[in-house]
């Protein structure tokens, strides 16, 4: 059991790490995060512990339970009239951009 002296005890896994180094590299790529080699074992360990921890959710009987879609029951996504409300402020917005030319955001060449 995890026992941090805290109210709720959690079952600790005696199993080997849930995630492999390759899986961490895969997740990092999906998330578009370049990791340093030294970061990989750290995330392998902490993400394995986190997935073990959240595995506690399996204990709950959720048969016939509808997943929550909104914290306030009965609220639905509001629609607004399809009218133009914004003015063109691209010059102000682009002041924060790392690289801009002629009102366009610059990125490395995508199509050869």
């Amino acid at each position: 059991m995890y026992d941090f002296g805290l109210p709720f005890a959690f079952v600790v896994s005696p199993k080997p790490m849930l995630l492999t180094r390759e899986q961490i590299e895969d997740i990092a790529h999906l998330a578009r995060l370049a990791l340093q080699p030294a970061e990989l074992p750290v995330y392998q360990q902490s993400l394995s512990a986190i997935f073990d921890f959240v595995g506690e959710l399996d204990r709950a009987d959720t048969a016939n339970v509808v997943p929550m879609a909104h914290p306030l029951a009965g609220q639905s996504q509001r629609l607004r009239p399809d009218v133009v409300t914004e003015t063109d402020r691209h010059e102000i917005y682009q002041r924060n951009a790392p690289q801009v030319a002629a009102g366009l955001y610059l990125v490395p060449k995508v199509i050869e």
Binding site: Y2, F4, G5, L6, P7, F8, A9, I24, I27, A28, H29, L30, A31, R32, L33, A34, L35, Q36, E39, V42, Y43, S46, L47, A49, I50, F51, F53, V54, G55, E56, L57, D58, R59, A60, T62, V65, V66, P67, M68, A69, H70, P71, L72, Q75, Q77, R78, R80, R89, Y93, Q94, R95, N96, A97, P98, Q99, Y105, V107, P108, K109, V110
Partner: protein
């Protein structure tokens, strides 16, 4: 004007003083700016100080006040957590990713408080992207707890809580995704309110987990919190989850008698793990409520123990989606000399985000990935439904729930950084209210080994007025909220 003691006054008292012209807004603002500067090396509570803008705004406020005009917060100083976009001002979210981001617009909260007359003095330090419970994940360094500067102030709104505790400002905005208003308020001995989901606009509040994030306020007293919350709340067409309901006058309802108030004690909050001294202070606070005519009864929320694992699926999932916008193209940090577009994305994000943010993005990416969505994400949303139903059942029997805000008082800087799950469990008592979208508060209720202890009050949706009323009457009976850390008197 006695500039020595003015910082000890509440927002309500300062407002009266300004209206009576006992002192000017410029004098007031300068007093607090000087305190911010004097204590910044020790506390690190701020990321950006807006001295010139604040003094200019204070001069304008003085003209309004002299003419008998001015909004409800005219001339009063405030600080914004550095995830509220502030036009023309650096808005960093505590991250290297945004350490050069000057917001092109005001968050609705910032605009509303500005139009109510409040003067923004500074942007407060915070855990990076509000991910943390100790303010140690900030790119700008940890904030220190004014009660003992070797300890954390809590997080993620650690700068706002420490600033109010040290009276560097009478009130500060904050946000709460899993406890980020209430936990630092408890650890710093101040009053914090997390409103109902949808009560305060999220427009311009840099998103972490959109179904959980909610803006609120930290102040010295419930009355001050009510003054600010009344002005921040309300419908905003720019936030699609903003609720179109009138805002009650939270200040007018503060003195309603509590006789007959039914208080539920969450059985799960008083089980193993609650620090004995904390529990003693909580029990003493409950006795105060009994003297005020409230009745106590134990209630059980059997699914509440699963709130932390449910949160650490839902919040990272939403974070991984929200933080996809930081791509090194339109704003924020960009890596040098990218080989190609993928390299640009990956290195900009790898360099721009800190360790905890990357951990949560990866957690969220995994729980939403093919083959795992049902196992983790949908399962967590079902558990969330069960937790919400538990609260609903409890509120059919009682008016409010009370218990501790945190299991222990503030802990040393560095004590919990090695193991993320130990850190995550700091929010064990606060996360439930976020999952269910409920309003909740923390108020000071005494000390354990010279450190503040927070009493948490949770109510049904849109019961902020009742919570503030209960907190205010407690503060009329006690003086914990007036205590100040010795070094900052």
């Amino acid at each position: 004007m006695n500039r020595v003691s003015i910082h000890t006054k509440t927002l309500a008292q300062l407002s009266k003083g300004l209206r009576a012209r006992e002192f000017s807004s410029v004098e007031l603002v300068r007093t607090f700016l000087d305190r911010i500067d004097a204590h910044q090396p020790m506390l690190n509570a701020m990321i950006t100080v807006m001295r010139d803008q604040a003094l200019t705004a204070a001069q304008a406020a003085d003209r309004e006040l002299a003419a008998g005009r001015g909004g409800p917060l005219a001339g009063l100083p405030i600080v914004h957590k550095d995830l509220f976009c502030t036009e023309g001002v650096l808005t960093t979210c505590g991250s290297h990713m945004l350490d050069n981001f000057v917001s092109p617009y005001d968050a609705t909260v910032v605009a509303k408080l500005k139009s109510a007359g409040a003067i923004t003095l500074a942007k407060s330090n915070m855990d990076e992207f509000a991910m943390g419970s100790s303010n140690e994940t900030s790119y700008f360094g940890p904030v220190r707890n004014p009660w003992n500067t070797d300890l954390v102030p809590g997080g993620s709104s650690g700068g706002s809580a420490a600033a109010v505790a040290a009276r560097l400002v009478p009130a500060a905005t904050a946000t709460d995704t899993g406890g980020s208003i209430r936990q630092p308020a408890a650890l710093c001995g101040v009053t914090g309110v997390k409103p109902t989901y949808g009560r305060v606009s999220r427009y311009g509040m840099i998103a972490f987990a959109s179904s959980l994030d909610q803006g609120g306020v930290i102040a010295a007293t419930a009355e001050d919190a009510a003054l600010v919350l009344r002005e921040m709340s309300g419908f905003d067409p720019n936030d699609s989850t903003s609720v179109d309901m009138p805002v009650p006058d939270y200040v007018a309802g503060l003195d309603a008698p509590l006789a007959g108030l039914k208080i539920g004690l969450l059985k799960e909050f008083f089980e193993k793990g609650l620090d004995a001294a904390n529990e003693k202070r909580i029990r003493e606070a409950l006795a105060v409520y009994q003297r005020l005519g409230a009745t106590l009864r134990e209630v059980s929320l059997p699914n509440l123990p699963l709130s932390v694992p449910a949160y650490y699926v839902v919040a990272p999932a939403e974070c991984s989606s929200n933080l996809a916008r930081f791509d090194g193209v339109r704003f924020g940090h960009r890596a040098k000399d990218p080989r190609d577009l993928t390299d640009l994305y990956e290195r900009s994000r790898g360099e721009g985000f800190g360790a905890e943010v990357k951990r949560r993005i990866m957690t969220g990416t995994y729980v939403l990935s093919a083959g795992y969505k049902d196992k983790y994400y949908l399962k967590a949303q079902k558990v969330r439904q069960l937790i919400s139903a538990d609260f609903k059942r409890a509120f059919s029997e009682v008016d409010v729930l009370m218990g501790p805000t945190t299991p222990t008082p503030a802990f040393p800087i560095g004590a919990k950084t090695a193991d993320p799950i130990t850190m995550y469990l700091n929010d064990i008592y606060t996360i439930g209210a976020n999952l269910a979208g409920l309003p909740a508060m923390s108020i000071p209720c005494g000390f354990a080994a010279s450190l503040p202890v927070g009493l948490q009050i949770v109510g049904p949706h849109f019961s902020e007025g009742k919570l503030l009323n209960a907190a205010h009457l407690f503060q009329r009976e006690t003086d914990w909220h007036t205590r100040m850390p010795e070094a900052f008197k």
